[in-house]
């Protein structure tokens, strides 16, 4: 009698994996057909064209020196950035007090990190933001707790850029929600008011709005009244952000099925609670990409405040480059500032992509 081993081998149980498509040989990948060949050759050509730029930025560059005159050889003068780093970041804020804006930036970073996960979104987080923004402003202004007062005209650099972006978006957002709800309202007066506000602000270029806020507004105010210039600039940016965000939010509201509101009504949920807990969260989830877009645009728009004399990071970099001791390193300054803007905006867009996949993982219909 023979013993037959009937136990199936692993090979029998294992489900057959789908066959992998064979990998293309490299040569075929780059020169497989006419289009690929053209793309390969033109890309190579572009890379060759970029060699001088690479030489300038890396090989011929002066990385560190205490003597500005060594920077006159034609390479990039990164030593200038190192020397002016503090000025570009903090502007004309008193050097002895620059730990305060540094702390403000740390606070901003900490709050942003704490706000990343949607699990923590709620009333408590909003309160935390209000408190920390108040702390940031106190730190910047000083005048209490033994800190020397620093007027907003001395604020500058990256903290101003960050605060303007953050506050214009943060303050603009609630307005945007009201404008969006107003525009969809069945009552004629809120609808007309919202529509007029949105269309008027969107019809003006931001530069125009900034001029109105910084030059026209003081003339229109009664004598003796004055609003801080930075405050006026912030107001203009906020109104601008609100109008654009409002249209994004409205798009989201339109995407929420009518059945959702009917269900809320049938369950006896009061209208404003239904909007806050049921309609808005869904509406905002639908418009994460355009919201991100507006946020990024607003971060970069803050650089326009330089034309009304607010000393943001770009202004600081420009002023730094005019220092006669150095050989006018404007390109280096702008590249450095561009890098910081890029890092901020790239961070925002990566975050939004993560947020979107998280939302989609709930497999919405």
């Amino acid at each position: 009698m023979t013993v037959i081993d009937t136990a199936p081998t692993v090979a029998h149980i294992a489900p057959s994996a789908p066959p992998r498509p064979p990998r293309k040989p490299i040569l075929q990948l780059f020169f497989g057909d006419l289009v690929a060949s053209i793309l390969t050759i033109s890309t190579g050509f572009l890379l060759i064209l970029m060699i001088p730029a690479l030489n300038w930025a890396v090989l011929d560059a002066v990385w560190a020196t205490n003597d500005p005159s060594t920077c006159r050889d034609g390479g990039a003068c990164w030593a200038f950035i190192a020397a002016k780093f503090r000025f570009i970041i903090f502007g004309v804020y008193p050097p002895d007090e620059q730990w305060r804006p540094l702390l403000v930036m740390a606070l901003i970073l900490a709050m942003i990190l704490a706000s990343l996960s949607p699990k923590l979104w709620g009333q408590r987080l909003i309160v935390a933001w209000v408190v920390s923004v108040a702390m940031m402003l106190i730190l910047m202004w000083g005048g209490v707790l033994g800190m020397t007062p620093v007027p907003t005209s001395s604020w500058g650099g990256l903290p101003v850029t960050l605060l303007l972006a953050l506050l214009s978006l943060g303050l603009g957002f609630p307005f945007a929600v009201f404008l969006a709800l107003g525009r969809r309202s069945s009552l004629p007066i809120p609808r007309m008011l919202s529509l007029m506000t949105i269309e008027m602000v969107r019809g003006l270029p931001l530069v125009g709005l900034l001029f109105v806020a910084s030059i026209l507004l003081p003339l229109l105010l009664p004598a003796g009244w004055s609003i801080d210039k930075l405050g006026r600039t912030l107001a203009a940016l906020t109104v601008f952000a609100a109008a654009y965000l409002a249209e994004v939010v409205r798009g989201g509201l339109q995407g929420v099925a009518a059945g959702q509101i009917e269900a809320a009504k049938a369950l006896g949920i009061p209208g404003w609670k239904a909007v806050w807990h049921l309609v808005l969260p869904q509406a905002l989830q639908k418009v994460i990409p355009p919201l991100t877009n507006t946020a990024i645009v607003m971060v970069k728009n803050t650089s326009l405040v330089l034309i009304v004399g607010v000393f943001d990071m770009l202004s600081a970099a420009r002023v730094a480059a005019t220092d006669p001791v150095w050989p006018a390193p404007f390109v280096e300054s702008y590249v450095f500032v561009a890098l910081i803007y890029f890092l901020i905006c790239f961070g925002i867009s990566n975050y939004s992509r993560w947020l979107e996949t998280r939302v989609q993982s709930r497999s919405y219909r």
Partner: protein
């Protein structure tokens, strides 16, 4: 006790227009407490509109609706009171997609009844068990089958402890194999004595559960009858035509 108070729902001489389209024509309907009514009729006959008028998802122009003695009028207070008495289940479930199943059942109680979270969640758990899907509590609606979603929607409505339930074609959007699980849930509910108005084409359900069947056509109630009489000896020509059409 007067006859007036015995009726859970009293619809009298109800007229409604969509623009110039006369969708409900002088409807009269009385539903006693604990009674199960099935409303059927060809599409466009106004049956959904009729039950949506009862909790004011649609506004009528003439006539009156009285729910458990509360007059549906222009008073917001009355409307709130009526919506507390009446639960509704929709054809497309209308669950809140951004909330888990448990939150779908718990949050409305907190927002509308001011219940505490603990109490609301206990209630949600209780009714999810009742519709036999307690294990799905932490999933999102989009992760459930249509039949499961509709049962969640029933649980969500029941969490508000309504005295009357309205069903607006609850199985029409479901794949055939899921119809039964939803109907079974509704049968259980009916056996427990819930007052129900069900708009449906499920004639088996009507025959088994309904106390009366209401047949509507062209915005009018054409026939009200017991299921036995309605299916076996319909009084109206139009009822016969309708039954012939849906029974094949």
């Amino acid at each position: 006790m007067t006859a007036h108070q015995l009726n859970a729902i009293e619809v009298s001489a109800l007229d409604k227009w969509y623009g110039s389209f006369h969708v409900l024509k002088t409807i009269d309907l009385r539903v006693a407490a604990g009674e199960r009514i099935v409303v059927c009729g060809p599409s466009g006959s106004g049956k959904s509109t009729l039950i949506r008028c009862i909790n004011r998802l649609e506004e009528h122009q003439r006539g009156s609706i009285c729910v458990n003695g509360i007059m549906l009028g222009d008073s917001v207070k009355n409307l709130d009171a009526i919506r507390r008495e009446v639960g509704m289940v929709f054809q497309h479930f209308n669950l809140f997609p951004h909330l888990t199943v448990k939150e779908n059942c718990a949050l409305p109680q907190i927002l509308s009844r001011g219940r505490r979270r603990r109490e609301a969640e206990d209630m949600a758990r209780h009714f999810l068990e009742k519709v036999r899907i307690p294990e799905q509590a932490d999933k999102y609606p989009g992760q459930l089958s249509g039949g499961q979603q509709q049962r969640v929607a029933i649980a969500r409505a029941l969490c508000m402890t309504p005295k009357i339930m309205l069903f607006d074609e609850p199985t029409s959007a479901l794949d055939p194999e899921m119809v039964k699980e939803v109907l079974d849930t509704m049968v259980t509910l009916a056996e427990e004595g819930m007052t129900m108005i069900v708009v449906t084409h499920e004639m088996g359900f009507a025959r088994r559960v309904a106390d009366r069947v209401v047949f509507m056509e062209d915005g009018q109630v054409k026939e009200v009858n017991t299921p036995a009489a309605f299916f076996d000896a319909p009084a109206q020509e139009s009822t016969k035509r309708f039954l012939a059409n849906i029974m094949h």
